[in-house]
Amino acid sequence: MKSTEKSAREPFFQIVKRDNLVWWKAWLIRAAAVISAFLVCGIVSVILTKRGFGSFYVSLFKGVFQTERRIWNLFQNISLLLCISLAVTPAFKMRFWNIGAEGQALVGALASAAIVVYFGGKVPEALLLVMMFGAAVAASVIWAVIPALFKAQWNTNETLFTLMMNYVAKSLVAYFINVWVTSGSGVLGVLKFGHFPAIGGYAYLLNIIIVAVLTVLVYMYLKKTKHGYEVSVVGESLNTARYVGINVKKVIIRTMVLTGVLCGIAGLLLVAGTSHTVATNTVGGRGFTAILVSWLAKFNPLYMILTSFMVVFLQQGAAQVATDYRLSNAFPDIIIGMFFFFIIACEFFANYSIKFRLAKKEKKA
């Protein structure tokens, strides 16, 4: 054969699927990924800032933990991100690719702001909060269920549908701000009513408690209930679901109602607990970051505490680094990007092992 010259070399390495990795080995691989990500981020920042290696880490941790306010901010941000991550998780487990959590949470925020604008000061504060809750949940559920109905009835593509609903939600917010703000500034100032009570003097504590409870509830829902079981079966195999007589349409709609409820709560937390106002960027991209949080945690709400912590920690810490060294505000994105690169890549090594072939001397006959 003519081609023997060229192809007489064996492949240098082979990728072999691992059968079953012991859990602690898998965690070791992940820990190694996090550590290497930290190291590489450090190196990059040394190159960019021309400062010592250690100052990057000092800045990073200071940005997150230096003052009490920063620590509260950290937990407050985690709770918001986690709440939206919880919202998208049941649908993702069902393989319903909802990328519209941004819009679903935004209409929730808009609805609760609307209640404050129209009823603030006219009804007791407690009743106002209840009304805000109802309105936020109703609005988000409507936003989430529309794509689900279309999916169930006509099998439309939920990814495009939910994505487009985001833009509609943003436009709605812009419109209502125009209606409410007569000065023409286009910014709705801080609302005076409809604030969450500060438990023990801590403004964000209620937010955190609500999300902690929700995390446990969603975990139980997915793991222990019949609904959660149906969600898993529908996600794993539509044929099996049909075979055992699960009403797939019903499950899709029911799960998206749940997504709506959780997004509504997130919207309420944003308006009543954190920003006390609404703008087109109130949700701040969390609807998309939540997808990442949920996937990295393999749809397990308890792991999501960890992944959302990581995302928020990096955002906040890297922002501080950028301020300290006068780097552009793209710097946090670079750091987060590198981190995820390592973490996603490590999943490959958890699932596959690479075997190098020993170089063999070959004798031609």
Binding site: S3, A8, V16, G228, R242, N247
Partner: protein, 564 residues
């Protein structure tokens, strides 16, 4: 006369994780012979051939072609060594026609000299030309230049008469096919033909066919074998992967037997027998003997009458099907794969709501007639009909591959109980029971079922379906892909259910088993019932004839072209 050896594989070992697919396997293929590669499912036949075709790379071992050691790293390497494989699942593009599929991936020869001459001749006008002629000439000149530019950037032009060489190949070996036909319009056998021509067109001298007859009718099989013999006479080597003994004996020159990844022996077909081959395949002399008790008190349990079904592609897959399944007997369903068996069982199980006709179930307690047609599986269960169904697609329908055994046990029963929460205690004890009583080889109840071997997966599925103490048990190809021992476990389970008074409906593909196991055999062909015969008196020939009854009338006698 000993023919020259074309390919030799020596000491080939291939592992997938902990599974050893091939262990120190040797094989040699001679020029101009038909070699059958025989073995049970999972004996490593396809893996071994995939290493020749460049899909896998062996962990150990060497491959020699014409006496020289070669390394095959990719399908392209394999083609360079003139090896081509026709896979079980065709790899064709539906919206292309046969020609385009065949030339796909080919790089085309660009004749630079001819192009140069063409450009030169087009540059100067022939005598005095009219404006129209000049315009035409300039267009042609532009086209030739574009062709040259295209070749420069490796953009391959398709020649207008590209079908001609392909047509020549088809005629040479006697393939009857319309090369301009789109793939989506083709039957399975036509698609297979396209795959074979594709491999021949790429110049393969060694053709590997993976289970080529699994999807063919007996007539199509015969036609395929004729073509294969033509190719052998032309000096090509053909390797047929199969587990069907009769085909091995009818078409091959030599047989290589694999068992559990090891090469057992290669024998000349003329000097061997079916029993000898079976022994080599299975390892020990097996007694193919299934107890068949006389049905006790057979009363009608399920009656189907005039059942018809048109599927989404607007094809009539069931045509006026009528039969009765009785308690305490096994009703076998025989037929070429895809004759409507799946649709029939699914219609009974409530998964084909569009079916028309009647499906009536008689309750064992009261003999009350219940209509099952156009009911959902949930409705059927709520009516108190204990219907169990072991579908053909075990991990895609009967079980969820990524869930563990306990969660798979729950599939049927999770709705029980008024609580919002699921109860995993009962399914867990059921799982433990099944593992113990059916000897499921598994490290525990909480490993995903897809990690289990085929036989164990089936035990889990059948175990669960039987656990709900059904009155009707339907099983579609329950032993497909199972080794002999697991197969017999399943046959015994079905027999036990029959003795317990269950109406068993068994869709099978092995006629010998159907004849030994079933009390009655119903034959389905093209969605029609062509006959119901008594399992005790039926012969294989009789059933085989019924299996193709409808088709013979539709198809003209095989058109074998001129021989090469």
């Amino acid at each position: 006369m000993e023919k020259a050896i074309a390919i030799q594989m020596k000491g080939i070992t291939k592992r997938f994780g902990e599974v050893i697919a091939n262990k120190d396997a040797d094989l040699d293929v001679r020029k101009g012979e038909i070699l059958a590669l025989l073995g049970e499912n999972g004996s490593g036949k396809t893996t071994l051939m995939n290493m020749l075709a460049g899909i896998y790379f062996p962990d150990e071992g060497k491959i020699y072609i014409d006496g020289k050691e070669v390394v095959i790293r990719s399908p392209r390497d394999a083609y360079n060594h003139k090896i081509g494989m026709i896979h079980q699942h065709f790899k064709l593009i539906d919206v292309y026609n046969a020609i385009d599929n065949i030339i796909l991936g080919e790089s085309f020869y660009f004749d630079e000299a001819a192009n140069k001459a063409k450009i030169a001749s087009l540059k100067k006008p022939e005598g005095n030309e009219s404006r129209k002629e000049k315009f035409k000439r300039n267009i042609k000149l532009l086209a030739a230049r574009l062709e040259k530019a295209g070749a420069y950037i490796k953009f391959n032009w398709l020649s207008r008469n590209r079908g001609e060489d392909i047509r020549a190949i088809a005629d040479k070996y006697g393939f009857a096919i319309d090369l301009k036909k789109k793939i989506y319009d083709m039957s399975v056998s036509e698609k297979q033909t396209v795959e074979i021509i594709k491999v021949l067109y790429r110049g393969a001298d060694i053709l590997i066919l993976d289970e080529p007859t699994a999807v063919l009718t007996p007539q199509e099989t015969k036609r395929l074998f004729d073509v294969i013999r033509n190719m052998r006479d032309d000096g090509k080597s053909i390797i047929i992967i199969t587990h069907k003994l009769n085909e091995v004996l009818s078409v091959s020159d030599r047989v290589a037997v694999l068992r559990k990844g090891e090469h057992i022996a290669t024998v000349n077909t003329a000097e061997t027998s079916e029993t000898e081959l079976t022994e080599m395949m299975v390892g020990k002399k097996v007694v193919l003997n299934i107890d068949r008790a006389e049905p006790k008190n057979p009363i009608d349990r399920l009656t189907v009458s005039g059942l018809s079904l048109i599927n989404k592609e607007n094809v009539k897959v069931l045509d006026n099907v009528s039969f009765t399944a009785r308690a305490g007997e096994i009703l076998g369903i025989a037929g070429v794969a895809g004759s409507g068996q799946r649709e029939l069982l699914e219609a009974i199980a409530g998964l084909q709501p569009a079916a028309t006709g009647k499906i009536t179930y008689f309750k064992p307690e009261s003999n009350e007639a219940v209509n099952l047609r156009a009911k959902t599986p949930t409705q059927i269960r709520e009516m108190g009909v204990r219907l169990s169904f072991v579908p053909e697609d075990r991990l895609g329908m009967g079980l969820v591959g990524n869930m563990d055994i306990v969660d798979n046990m729950m599939l049927r029963s999770y709705k029980k109980g008024k609580f919002f929460f699921v109860d995993r205690k009962k399914p867990k004890s059921l799982a433990e029971n099944i593992i113990k009583s059916l000897e499921v080889a598994t490290p525990g109840t909480n490993i995903p079922v897809r990690r289990l071997s085929g036989g164990n997966v089936q035990k889990v599925l059948v175990g669960r379906e039987i656990a709900s103490s059904p009155t009707v048990l339907m099983a579609a190809y329950p032993v497909r892909g199972l080794d002999i021992n697991s197969s017999y476990t399943i046959y015994n389970l079905l027999n036990k259910q029959k003795e317990n008074g269950v109406a068993v409906i068994f869709v099978g593909e092995d006629l010998d088993v159907l004849i030994e196991l079933c009390d009655r055999i119903m034959v389905i062909c093209g969605g029609k019932i062509t006959g119901i015969v008594d399992g005790r008196s039926a012969t294989k020939e009789e059933v085989g004839l019924l299996m193709t009854k409808g088709r013979q009338m539709e198809q003209s006698p095989s058109t074998v072209g001129q021989r090469g």
